[in-house]
Symmetry: C2
Subunit: 326 residues, 2 copies
């Protein structure tokens, strides 16, 4: 009921009387009072005025299941939310939940991970209080061959979510890194469990640096956070999470209609940090340079190499901007 | 040490003295005696003759980690074995073990499953004492796009293992069912966990009907067991398991060299039950008939449709023999 009370307080213009809350949720005054007290303990600033009722005056950056549920506006993402103060990794957790029958749209969020994963088995630094770690579970009826494009869909959603909440110019580095001013602010790890061509489930793991004030030396030159890029602003993580998945639902629908990116290419390219710029394609066989020209319907990067159109499709291949960091 | 003593008893021509066993394993006579007694309790027939030693006279169909380890001859499959009297599903178990860091080649075997899985989320009847349920964990350095061919490699290994242990003419129904006299004796469920094009791990789950005396009505017409096809013989499941993985290791090496089936096509086609026969391809768009002509380098089924060569590649498409059951 705490989440519902939070929602009611937020939706109200002014005060909400205890009486109203009792009637709306069919509980006693004492129950409402207890829930309000609990919310205060969790950090919400709630004012109680005799004969007027309750009013929420400040929402600090609280990450909890109640908080996430109370601000949820998505249609199907997060209908089921699992929140952990700490977990091994939200992707591992989501994979387990999938095996145990969790439904399409289940969202796993954690404040800290102790086995955060990056691509190809690398680690992902995941301390508490600073970042968003979350994983969406999908059980779509798509061909396994089309699944990898979902990671580009997720990248579009994260960039848009960050722009909406922070106003910062979050761009996409192909295929699925999010950068601000040339530095990486988010990593996405999409994993699939499949039987031959049949998809069991897909998990899209997203880590966003929010309140980090600095980074370890080895990544300091290439990593950044929303706080650092905004000159010290503390953005509300639950709102950021909500904004990302709201954007995702729209993009996902357009992906699903064709199972490719034909309806999303233009929007993707508009956010592409390297569009029209010279890039270096670190092809393991022979690196080459060219001009990035956007993506194909299947999410490959089109690179013009001295007038020849080449397609970069493999996650094996790293693409670097020649000027700047990315 | 039990597994090692079992191996020693099996390798010996006649009796093995307690003294020899003590020296070989660096343990006391009492320890040997205890291990022998334990083995007897588990069902092994071991004769003990004063002044001569121990001799194994009969090995019933015992499935246990010791039994599997004692007859293991594979190079890398089953270096780590997890045996369960009952588990949810050996594929689920292997997926978990993979997440927890279990190495390439880990083998999971169970006597019974209470959540056995067939393709596309269907169940797989998995009662105890009658069948082989096992899953091999692979962590190969291959392209995700090439992974689905591994299920054909596994099919070849199962057919060969069954032929070797039982002498029955096990054949392959494309892509990966094993049939004897037109009835299904084994199902294979290959699942992959991947990050875009990078393979985290693959599990190959294999269920073989061994001692089943009958099947439920709904599958009785299409299912069979080694016992039913041999007229009542009880084959030794651990030996069957060993034979399958010995065959697998050879085929796998040839697959890995090219990451496709070019070196295995002929051997695969030789075991293909429908080779040269008319089949019905249940293409969801438009079913058609033609003559099965074997597989391509990538494991697609070649079907000659009135002189036109068509390739059947999707697991969506079921191929049925027109005469007989499969």
């Amino acid at each position: 009921m705490k989440a519902e009370i939070l929602t009611a307080l937020r939706e109200a213009e002014g005060y909400v009387s205890g009486q109203q809350l009792c009637q709306r949720f069919g509980v006693s005054r004492t129950a409402v009072w207890k829930a309000i007290n609990q919310l205060k303990k969790e950090g919400y600033a709630i004012e109680a005025v005799q004969n007027r009722g309750y009013r929420i005056t400040d929402t600090p950056d609280i990450l909890s299941e109640d908080e996430l549920r109370s601000i949820r506006r998505t249609a199907w993402v997060g209908e089921k939310i699992y929140y952990y103060e700490a977990t091994d990794s939200t992707n591992i957790r989501a994979n387990r939940l999938a095996e145990e029958g969790a439904p399409h749209g289940t969202l796993v969020v954690a404040d800290a991970q102790d086995a955060g994963r990056g691509r190809r088995g690398r680690g992902w630094d995941s301390s508490s209080g600073t970042s968003v770690y979350m994983t969406l579970l999908l059980k779509p009826d798509i061909d396994a061959a089309n699944a990898s494009m979902l990671t580009l869909v997720a990248a579009m959603a994260v960039a848009e979510g960050i722009r909406r909440v922070s106003g910062l110019n979050a761009q996409i580095k192909w295929p699925n890194d999010i950068v601000i001013n040339g530095k990486k602010v988010c990593g996405i790890l999409t994993e699939m469990s499949a039987q031959m061509d049949y998809v069991n489930h897909i998990v899209i793991g997203i880590g966003i640096n929010v309140h980090n004030e600095s980074f370890p030396e080895d990544i300091a030159r290439t990593a950044t956070s929303l706080l650092m890029e905004s000159g010290g602003e503390h953005f509300h993580r639950a709102q950021l999470i909500e904004a990302v998945w709201e954007a995702f639902e729209g993009y996902y629908e357009r992906y699903l209609a064709t199972q490719d990116l034909r309806d999303l290419r233009n929007a993707y390219d508009a956010g592409l940090v390297n569009l029209g710029e010279r890039v270096r394609v670190l092809d393991p066989k022979e690196p080459y340079e060219g001009v990035a020209q956007g993506i194909t319907d299947r999410g490959e990067l089109i690179v013009d190499k001295d007038g020849t159109r080449t397609l970069v499709s493999s996650g094996e291949v790293s693409v670097r901007g020649i000027y700047g960091y990315v």
